[in-house]
């Protein structure tokens, strides 16, 4: 029997598979497909303080083995979300993670404080890397000082553990990760989407009203793996890896590169029960390779 559990230090998860924010709705939508208890944890759609409409359509465009999205983080606002969480919490004992968004540092803080201490909330994931929100796509996670300032401020104000989600659109990912660690992050997740673009030749316009969009899916996996490996080599807190994961084999590669757990994103859209298949594949591959537990593998890349 292989042991799939992973330890983030402040919490143990029964397995390393965590559906990623924005690709798992509010969890409930997956109840027709599987029991949420099977997951390591799951992350709700990103939330701002107030209700948001999101961007005008089109909001997605397929690219070779990838997906560009410019959804624009629509949502009901934090008060409505609290009700949803309380409802979802009834259907599962799996840890629930909130994806905290903000247009300003103050908004991040307000949202984080609002959910702080809720027994239904296991971790606050700070989405300091959403490329759609500000014009040109810049975000706090593209600046080590901004990252430090923001994470520090939130860490000082909340007691719920925080996971800081990084952006890949930087020269030196480790510098950002180290800033987050020094500011008190309990763990780090990466990567959010890569800045991309799509054009419509006929109208001579960008496909997305926002011009740029975020690339996710299998296309980015080799890039994400490199980023996770770099960060894991440079921080001492747990790293939660993601980017283009579609198989159990992919998960084990991220863990070998140094991730303690992983998030599953775009593939949830294509195959609702992907996470469950992936958990099964992790088990099978571990048995095949005679890996008794995941700790044995984490960061054991021989370079």
């Amino acid at each position: 029997m292989v042991d799939l559990s992973v330890d983030l230090g402040f919490i143990c998860l029964k397995n390393p598979v965590i559906p990623a924010s924005g690709t798992f709705g509010y969890g409930e939508e997956f109840l027709p497909f599987f029991n949420l208890d099977l997951l390591g944890a799951f992350i709700l759609k990103g939330i701002y303080k107030n209700k948001r409409m999101g961007n005008p359509p089109p909001r997605i465009q397929e690219t070779p083995a990838g997906l560009l999205n410019s959804i624009g983080l629509p949502g009901p606002g934090m008060k409505e979300l609290k009700k949803i969480i309380q409802r979802v919490y009834q259907s599962t004992s799996t840890p629930i993670i909130i994806n905290v968004c903000g247009e300003t540092d103050q908004e991040y803080l307000d949202v984080a404080e609002y959910f702080d201490g809720m027994e239904e909330v296991a971790i606050l994931e700070l989405n300091i890397s959403c490329p759609n929100v500000k014009s040109g796509g810049r975000c706090p996670a593209q600046d080590d000082k901004h990252t430090y300032r923001l994470v520090k401020q939130i860490k000082q104000s909340v007691s719920t553990p925080i996971m800081v989600k990084l952006s890949p659109n930087v020269t030196d990912i480790s510098a950002i990760a180290i800033s987050a660690e020094e500011a008190g992050a309990d763990c780090i997740s990466l990567t959010n989407t890569f800045l991309g673009m799509a054009l419509d030749l006929e109208s001579r316009k960008p496909v997305f009203p926002n011009i740029v969009a975020g690339l996710s899916g299998p296309a980015i996996k080799p890039l994400a793996l490199r980023l996770v490996w770099e960060v894991a080599n440079n921080v001492h807190i747990p790293v939660i890896g993601m980017g283009g994961i579609t198989t159990g084999q992919d998960v084990l590669e991220f863990i070998l590169a140094g991730a303690t757990a992983v998030q599953i994103g775009t593939i949830n859209l294509v195959e609702p029960a992907a996470s469950i298949r992936i958990i099964k594949e992790i088990k099978e591959t571990m048995e095949q390779l005679e890996i008794a537990n995941l700790k044995e593998l984490t960061g054991k890349l021989q370079t």
Partner: protein, 254 residues
């Protein structure tokens, strides 16, 4: 709603880029109602990544039929499916046309829009009087006539842009007259966006209830990605996949 590996039973080229696909799915065929759609994975590789949405043309347990048009990469791959191929199918998805009995329903289909309309006629013809207006670009696109023959239709009006079959014109050419003459109390329609707009101009004026089966770019089909939204008059963006695909036309902010 289930995501299953299903067997392809038949894939018939009706004419040009139009095909009928027969899929074995006990689960979906037993549950689907008119308006419902499915998401089909078109490739066993990572490219294209997303499933494609197709309305249900008919259920014939344990089978379902899809009527589709090849318009791009994904639908071209569907046209290459062979009997025995196994593909992943998610469904049934979406809402349905409103329950209606003892009424004169006018069905309006443009091109491949006949898919959900065909299914609706099958189900509603027992308890309602059905008329159908069916339009296409030319004769070559109006290619399901044989399949429409067994249906019980009060009125069947065909239009083509070039007049090569039926009347020259489009589905709205005689719409007002038809609604008034046939005592239509409600319309169900499916077709391209500009068709909806012209239909709605008439139905709004005549105060005829008007339900449309809309299309949108879909990332997931089951409500999690928020990519398929349409602007409504009162409720902001609504998801075509779970709030639709059938909408009361009065709700849409055209």
């Amino acid at each position: 709603m289930r995501d299953d590996i299903c067997n392809i039973v038949e894939n018939i080229q009706i004419q040009g880029e139009y095909y009928l696909l027969k899929i074995h799915s006990e689960y979906i065929s037993a549950r689907a109602i008119p308006g419902n759609f499915i998401m089909i994975s078109v490739s066993s590789t990572m490219e294209p990544l997303l499933k494609r949405p197709f309305g249900i043309f008919e259920t014939d347990p344990p089978y379902i039929w899809i009527y589709y048009q090849v318009v791009g990469k994904g639908s071209r791959l569907v046209s290459e499916f062979k009997p025995g191929d196994k593909i992943s199918v998610l469904g049934p998805l979406g809402n349905s046309f409103p329950p209606v009995t003892n009424q004169s329903i006018l069905m309006i289909a443009g091109g491949r829009g006949i898919a959900p309309i065909h299914f609706a006629i099958k189900k509603y013809q027992k308890e309602n009087k059905i008329s159908l207006i069916y339009g296409a670009r030319s004769k070559h696109n109006l290619n399901l006539l044989d399949l429409l023959k067994p249906l019980t239709l009060q009125v069947l009006l065909l239009y083509s842009d070039d007049g090569s079959i039926g009347k020259r014109g489009n589905v709205t050419t005689d719409l007002r007259k038809t609604i008034q003459k046939s005592g239509i109390s409600i319309t169900f329609s499916c077709g391209p966006d500009n068709m909806f707009k012209s239909i709605y101009q008439v139905t709004r004026e005549l105060k005829t209830r008007d339900y449309a089966s809309l299309e949108a770019l879909m990332g997931c089909g089951f409500g999690i990605c928020y990519s398929c939204v349409i602007q409504t008059r009162k409720s902001g963006y609504q998801k075509v996949c779970t709030d639709g695909p059938i909408f009361d036309m009065d709700e849409i902010a055209w």
